[in-house]
């Protein structure tokens, strides 16, 4: 057999060489990759010369060639130009990808160069304009969720009262644990240091996510967490005037406070009564600081003191049982959020000049009365070709963010009577008039204490607004000069400057309790003479911060084809980066915002507090606070790739970064990073005859990227603080112990990917497998306090991560109905290989999975728990010490070993992904995005009695608690104890009984759009209108708990509905 096949091969070769000099016929068809429709009129070029055009209804072509394999370029208006080999004696089936966004070939941007995707060896993921515009948001990064493979959004710190917070984004699991979890954001060519909200999503053409070392090592020392390259819209030459306008309005529900699992007011009142009967409040009644009590406690005191009869008190208290303060918040504080977005984009160009201008206006009416955000953006991009080979590009981007906040505090932001606001509090009376709440002192005290010397001491939650204004201006200027030499060399000089200023004015006038309370507390009575060290007037906190960043890059590119088979691309260069951020913060007293006057205050003296309500105190708020940080990087880089027949590609890159690490010798400031890679377009091979596989590319890379934290130092460093309140002298803190072993974190990534296209592109996608190992990972580790430090951030672990990212895109037609579906599936499991300070206490690793795990070969984010032994017949939770059942919680916490811990599983999903089906018919498109997360665990919250007594933290599990002997058969919620035992609560909170599977499926959004297509009569290229519904909720979850595993006890974002229109002229 072997002999035969060899002879066959010889015969084949002989045959080829024999026909080599003869003219052979090359034929085939060109179709659209997305719709499988024929593309009639496509041009086929050989060595830049048109040799054929597709004709007939099947878009076929044929031409004669000297060789049996010919390197061609196929182009079609509106489609990406494709270069490939065509072969004689077989039908060549070519599919072209439609161009999305701008008129350029499918390239991925690394920030240093545009790489044609088919020539890339690394792992790039490009998200085109259509995909980014599918969702509606003010922030561009929000649009990546569920559409980008391998990108995990961690929403655990979402807060309904803080709009605009960014979720943590992790690309392929975690690399660095401390420095900064966020990936590096590149805007066009340079890292973007400013506020991500400054970028108008409507200015973004595409986003490329760089996931492996070959892709990201070009960014060197900050690429360890992955890189997100945002490419903005550009103008292109020879383009007629185009105008694009879009606008949308999003309406988002009020936060669904009713869904919070809390105790009822009635239960809360019962607990208060129990505490009162046990004398819990006796001590506070004696206290000189006159701490406030809730109305129920005041009624009970009045009853005890004979002011109310038993019945009167009961009546008053029972009236409160049906109140729920959440209703008041929903009525008086929250409203539906309305976001409006308008964007205009004008572009055009002649042969030597191209321009683009865009303007954007966003106005978000926040979810609380008094919250508004606006963003204005302007962008101007110019490109001039003054002479042959020379191109100058400039861009100017200006952003103005305005944030006004005159809102009352949201739910969960108010503390009263030393606890979270009690559930039966009332914010307004039946007529909507604001009511007062005893916040810090007893009502009876504040009513009489002043004797006309003090300001009104009443606190009205609805009137406590203050005024906060934030103005941020950001200017980004960019200039690039590019000269193309004749011989394939191309020299580039790029410079970017970013300057941003941010000013926050927070004014609290005499109409706020905060200011009045401060004035009252500092009031001095000396022999009947009254003085006010905190002057009568408002308090202004003024924060001004600025960012200045400069980047300069020199780069030499080389790109040349040798014959029709070899192509070499190389680039090398150097760059400088400097980022300076500084801030000044001041507190101004007695400020009059109409006259701009203020009063000088004595912030040196420690004043006694009025009526001994507190200890000696200086007037709070540093008069001034300054900060000034500068980070500098110097880097040199090289990158080269060689391809043979566009079929075999090898690539390599190297980079050296050095930064102004403090206390490190210059020669240790740098770190060399490198990568190598190869790719093989298998489907282009002549031997590839599998007809239904029309694209198959294998690629693999290996390399290193790194992470550096400029705030670390190898030497003991101290930092100055302005002055201490005892003696007004400057003082210093030790910030960093000497750490001679400080090193750069290194991330090594191996990536193997397979890109495929089947059945004429009807099914395409990729599969990537990777191994991501980190060395010298920075992590905060608890250390022996005898050193004088509690914990310490150091190079503390080595980890190994494995995973895959799979993507399947399918297209199909059923008559005039087009169906498409995209499936993204990612897996990542990062485990600890080595942990450098392992002897810590086992129980200290029981948490919510936010610390790094010290257990070898276990996931790096791991949930551990105490073993659960059920409730005993007194309603106490039981645990184990060894195999012994016990309620000695302190012993459990002390003696539990790592072996005794219950290992629940990863606290971050091992599998996650999304499914995005879409169906369209005659310009009507309906699509949805379904997200899923799999194989992970979360710790539920439950009732914590110490926290309930001390801080008023409630939980609905209270109603399920053990109450009578026998209840332990059917409940796991411990009984109500008195006194509380924090060790018992701690054990219960950390036991396995509260850990649930977090797996869930969520319907993120649904979008319905209608394209009206070309309306020539009105000179309109397209009009699209759409409806977009977001945050639609969980479809399925593994846990029976009411909590959303993704957001924990916090509320997730409420549902929203957007309407929009896009017009292109």
């Amino acid at each position: 057999m072997k002999f035969i096949s060899t002879t066959n091969l010889c015969a084949l070769l002989l045959f080829f060489s024999a026909v080599a000099n003869a003219q052979t016929l090359i034929e085939g068809n060109v179709v659209s990759a997305t719709e499988s429709g024929p593309l009639i009129g496509a041009t086929i070029k050989v060595n830049g010369k048109a040799v054929a055009e597709t004709k007939n209804s099947d878009a076929s072509f044929s031409f004669m060639s000297d060789s049996s394999e010919v390197w061609v370029e196929i182009s079609y208006l509106g489609y990406e130009t494709k270069r490939l080999s065509l072969y004689a004696n077989q039908p060549n089936f070519v599919k072209l990808d439609p161009i999305t966004g701008t008129l350029e070939e499918v390239t991925v941007s690394t920030g240093y160069q545009q790489v044609p995707k088919e020539r890339a060896t690394g792992s790039f993921e490009k998200l085109n304009n259509d995909l980014l515009n599918r969702s509606v948001s003010t922030n561009v990064l929000d649009r990546l969720e569920g559409v980008s493979n391998g990108l995990a959004f961690d929403n655990r710190n979402y807060n309904v009262n803080q709009s605009g917070g960014n979720p943590a984004i992790r690309i392929r699991g975690v690399s660095t644990l401390f420095s900064s979890l966020d990936p590096l954001i590149i805007l066009d060519n340079f890292p973007y240091e400013g506020n991500i909200s400054n970028i108008n999503p409507n200015d973004v053409a595409s986003i490329t996510v760089l996931k492996d070392a070959a892709a990201s090592s070009i960014w060197g020392a900050r690429a360890g967490n992955g890189v997100i390259v945002i490419t903005t819209k550009k103008s292109s030459a020879d383009q007629p005037l185009q105008v694009n306008f879009n606008s949308n309005v999003t309406i988002q529900n009020k936060p669904d406070l009713r869904r919070l699992p809390l105790m009822s007011s009635s239960d809360y009142i019962d607990v208060e009564q129990m505490l009162f009967e046990n004398g819990y409040y006796n001590n506070s009644e004696q206290s000189l600081s006159r701490p406030a009590f809730t109305p129920v406690i005041e009624y009970l005191i009045a009853k005890r003191d004979g002011i109310y009869t038993e019945e009167e008190a009961k009546g008053l208290i029972d009236d409160l049982r049906s109140k729920d303060v959440r209703e008041d918040f929903l009525k008086y504080v929250y409203r539906n959020q309305v976001n409006q977005q308008y964007a205009l984009n004008v572009s055009g160009g002649s042969a030597s000049y191209a321009y683009m201008f865009s303007a954007g206006y966003d106005r978000n009416i926040g979810n609380r009365y008094g919250l508004t955000d606006t963003r204005r953006t302007l962008r101007l991009v110019n490109s001039i070709k003054p002479m042959k080979g020379l191109e100058i590009q400039t861009s100017l981007q200006w952003t103005l963010l305005d944030n006004d906040n005159t809102s009352a505090s949201g739910y969960g932001q108010i503390r009263a009577a030393g606890k979270d606001l009690y559930p039966y509090a009332r914010l307004a009376d039946g007529f909507g008039s604001p009511l007062t709440i005893a916040k810090d002192y007893r009502k009876g005290y504040t009513d009489t204490a002043g004797m006309n010397r003090l300001l009104d001491w009443n606190y009205f939650p609805l009137l406590e607004k203050g005024r906060s204004e934030t103005k941020e201006q950001d200017l980004l200027f960019n200039v690039g000069v590019n000269y193309q030499f004749n011989d394939g060399f191309n020299a580039e000089l790029k410079y970017q400057m970013e300057r941003s200023t941010n000013r926050i004015e927070y004014f609290r006038g005499l109409d706020t309790y905060y200011t009045r309370d401060l004035i009252n507390r500092f009031t001095q009575v000396d022999n009947g003479i009254i003085s006010y060290p905190v002057p009568m007037g408002g308090i202004l906190e003024n924060t001004q911060s600025g960012l200045q960043a400069h980047y300069a890059r020199m780069q030499l590119n080389y790109k040349k084809s040798f014959g029709s088979l070899h192509e070499l691309m190389a680039l090398g260069g150097a760059e400088l980066r400097e980022t300076n951020s500084s801030s000044m913060r001041s507190t101004i007293y007695g400020y009059n915002d109409r006259l701009l006057t203020y009063a000088r205050v004595d912030q040196v003296t420690r004043f006694p507090i009025y009526d001994n309500l507190g200890g000696l105190s200086t007037i709070p708020g540093e008069p001034f606070q300054f900060s000034d940080n500068t980070y500098r990087f110097v880097s040199a880089f090289l990158n080269a790739s060689y391809s043979y027949k566009a079929r075999y590609i090898i690539s390599a890159s190297a980079r050296r970064d050095a930064s102004n690490l403090f206390g490190v010798k210059s020669n240790q400031k740098g770190v060399p990073l490198w990568s190598v890679g190869m790719a093989w377009n298998i489907a282009d091979e002549p031997f590839w005859r599998v007809k239904w596989v029309d694209g198959l590319k294998l690629r693999t890379t290996f390399g290193y990227s790194g992470n550096v934290d400029n705030s670390k130092s190898a030497l003991t460093t101290i930092s100055y603080a302005p002055s201490n309140p005892y003696n007004n002298l400057p003082y210093a803190n030790v910030v960093n112990p000497s750490d001679p072993s400080l090193r750069w974190e290194q991330v090594g990534t191996f990536n193997a990917g397979l890109d495929y296209s089947l059945l004429g592109g009807r099914l395409n996608g990729s599969f990537e497998y990777y191994v991501k190992n980190t060395k010298d990972l920075f992590a905060s580790t608890p250390i022996d306090q005898t050193t004088g430090f509690l914990n310490f951030v150091r190079n503390s672990a080595t980890t190994s991560g494995k995973g895959f990212d799979a993507q399947i895109n399918g297209y199909g037609n059923i008559g005039a109905i087009k169906v498409a579906a995209n499936l993204l599936l990612s897996y990542n499991r990062t485990k600890v290989l080595e942990y450098f300070s392992e002897s810590a206490r086992a129980s200290s690793y029981i948490n919510n999975g936010i610390f790094i795990s010290p257990k070898k070969n276990e996931p790096i984010y791991m949930l551990y728990s105490y073993r659960w032994g059920g409730l005993d017949s007194d309603g106490n939770p039981q645990g184990y010490v060894g195999d012994e059942l016990t309620t000695d919680y302190r012993r459990i916490s002390r003696e539990t070993t790592f072996e005794d811990l219950v290992t629940n599983g990863s606290s971050v999903p091992l599998y996650f992904g999304s499914f995005r089906p879409s169906i369209s018919w005659k310009g009507t498109t309906l699509s949805a995005n379904i997200l899923f997360r799999w194989s992970y665990y979360f710790r539920r919250q439950s009732i914590n009695y110490s926290e309930l007594f001390a801080n008023g933290k409630t939980h609905a599990d209270y109603s399920l608690r053990w109450q009578h002997p026998g209840d332990e058969q059917h409940t796991n919620v411990p009984g109500l104890p008195y006194p509380a035992n924090s060790a018992r609560d701690d054990f219960y909170a950390k036991s396995e009984i509260l850990v649930d599977k977090a797996d869930h499926i969520r319907l993120r959004d649904i979008r319905l759009s209608q394209d009206f297509g070309n309306l020539r009569k009105w000179h309109i290229r397209n009009i699209q209108v759409f409806i977009y519904a977001n945050n639609l909720g969980i479809i399925w979850k593994a846990t029976k708990s009411a909590e959303d595993p993704e957001y924990g006890t916090a509320l997730g974002p409420p549902k929203s509905l957007a309407f929009g229109i896009n017009v292109s002229l």
Binding site: L616, S666, T716, Y720, F789
Partner: protein, 445 residues
């Protein structure tokens, strides 16, 4: 060729530009400590150097009691501490060792910078040694058995830290080593520190170092030395506040007052907050009617007596526990009484008490017999130095003497708890994390 040159230019540029460009400090507030100013700033970190003292001893001592209601409303750790439970772990171990780390950072910096002039060098080195010695002394009263010459060589002491390096292992020394280290630190501090009264009593001077040595030798029952050092301290600073001149209020005593030799205070603690700590009634009855401390130190309210004699101008749980000249007088008087110099002791005590009694009229007749004089002095010590952490130290040392030993009792919810003299409960457990991370030996409690 041009391109090659360009490439070379780019390459060489990046190499030579580096060095100077990268010397810039990333954060302007950050410095490598080297100057006199830097070291002084570390020692002036009052929050960490003076206000981080552990109040464990005071919370376990008998100056106050808790009502049943108040006891129940406390966290379990405070409840256990109050009844001298078995599992009472020290809090504040880390903050005390942080003070030592700051002192060591100053000492190391001085080593590396020989150019600092001798006056500054002495002041800084003396200051750092004082802070280290004084902190070790405080720790020794919480985490070690009461000093006993006979067991000192073998009884476990404290881990002694001489560097600020984080990888320096923590190993417990012996009682003898710990006490001799405290003595060495304080003795050298006493030589180096200036005599002048410092700008603020948050900075130690010679008088403070002598006072520290007097405290040390009193605990070691070396009364000869204790008297000598108390006297040395008093030679430099013996001013007393005349309580007749003090205006009574909720906070009669200003911070940094003229009696203060060295200022330090507790970091605060649950059972010590103003409304919890009800003054022991027997203690309150010890004050005579014309003793001004009766009204300046205490307030009666709703049948309870509350303490307000904090030497820090405020009435919180962060009580003053520094060194005063009054304490030195009492130490001197005790040492004299123990030597049988009764009338000398009486004179010293009278000097103090004149400033405490109405119209400076202290006219008690000296008791007969050396023992009675000593008991009188000790009673006055108890009455003067309450809520300053000193009672705990005194209980530990006096329990060694059979006739001066005290049995402490607490009553909680009808149950009586007893702390016998020399009980192992006079020693707190070292925090568990520390034991697990360092592998040090835990105390027996």
């Amino acid at each position: 060729m041009i391109k090659i040159k360009l490439l070379l230019l780019v390459a060489s540029f990046s190499i030579c530009a580096c060095n100077q460009y990268l010397e810039l400090k990333p954060d302007k507030t950050m410095v490598l400590p080297e100057t006199e100013q830097d070291m002084q700033a570390l020692l002036d970190n009052v929050n960490f150097m003076n206000a981080a003292e552990s109040s464990l001893g005071e919370m376990a001592a008998d100056n106050y009691y808790l009502t049943d209601n108040d006891w129940q409303s406390l966290d379990i750790n405070d409840r256990e501490l109050y009844i001298w439970g078995k599992d009472v772990f020290g809090t504040g171990w880390g903050s005390n060792y942080r003070t030592i780390m700051y002192a060591n950072t100053v000492l190391e910096t001085l080593e590396k910078n020989p150019s600092i002039d001798i006056t500054a060098r002495n002041r800084l080195r003396g200051g750092a040694l004082f802070f280290r010695g004084n902190t070790l002394f405080q720790l020794a009263q919480l985490y070690m058995l009461p000093y006993d010459k006979d067991i000192a060589a073998t009884a476990p002491g404290l881990p002694l830290k001489f560097t600020a390096a984080i990888d320096d292992p923590s190993v417990r020394s012996s009682m003898e080593k710990t006490y001799s280290q405290i003595e060495m630190d304080l003795r050298e501090a006493a030589v180096l520190l200036p005599e002048e009264k410092p700008l603020f009593p948050t900075r130690p001077n010679k008088a403070a170092a002598f006072a520290g040595l007097a405290r040390l030798h009193l605990v070691m029952a070396d009364f000869e030395q204790a008297e000598r050092f108390a006297d040395s301290s008093l030679m430099l600073q013996a001013t007393l506040i005349d309580y007749n001149q003090v205006i009574n209020s909720e906070t009669p005593f200003a911070p940094f007052n003229e009696e203060t030799i060295f200022y330090s205070r507790f970091s605060g603690g649950g059972t010590l907050s103003q409304s919890y700590r009800k003054v022991d009634t027997t203690l309150y009855t010890m004050y005579a009617d014309d003793d001004l401390r009766r009204t300046l130190f205490f307030r009666e309210q709703d049948g309870h007596v509350y303490f307000k004699g904090n030497y820090d101008g405020q009435n919180t749980s962060a009580l003053f526990n520094g060194i005063t000249s009054a304490e030195m007088l009492l130490t001197k008087a005790e040492c004299l009484a123990r030597k049988g110099k009764s009338s000398e002791a009486w004179n010293v005590l009278s000097e103090l008490l004149r400033s405490r009694y109405s119209n400076n009229n202290f006219n008690k007749v000296m008791p007969i017999g050396a023992t009675n004089v000593l008991n009188f002095v000790l009673n006055e010590r108890r009455k003067e130095l309450l809520f300053r952490g000193i009672r705990w130290i005194d209980l530990r040392r006096l329990n060694k003497e059979e006739n001066l030993a005290t049995v402490l009792t607490r009553n909680v919810l009808g149950k009586e708890y007893i702390l016998l003299p020399n009980s192992s409960r006079y020693v707190f457990l070292i925090p568990d994390d520390v034991i697990q991370q360092s592998g040090m030996e835990q105390n027996v409690r």
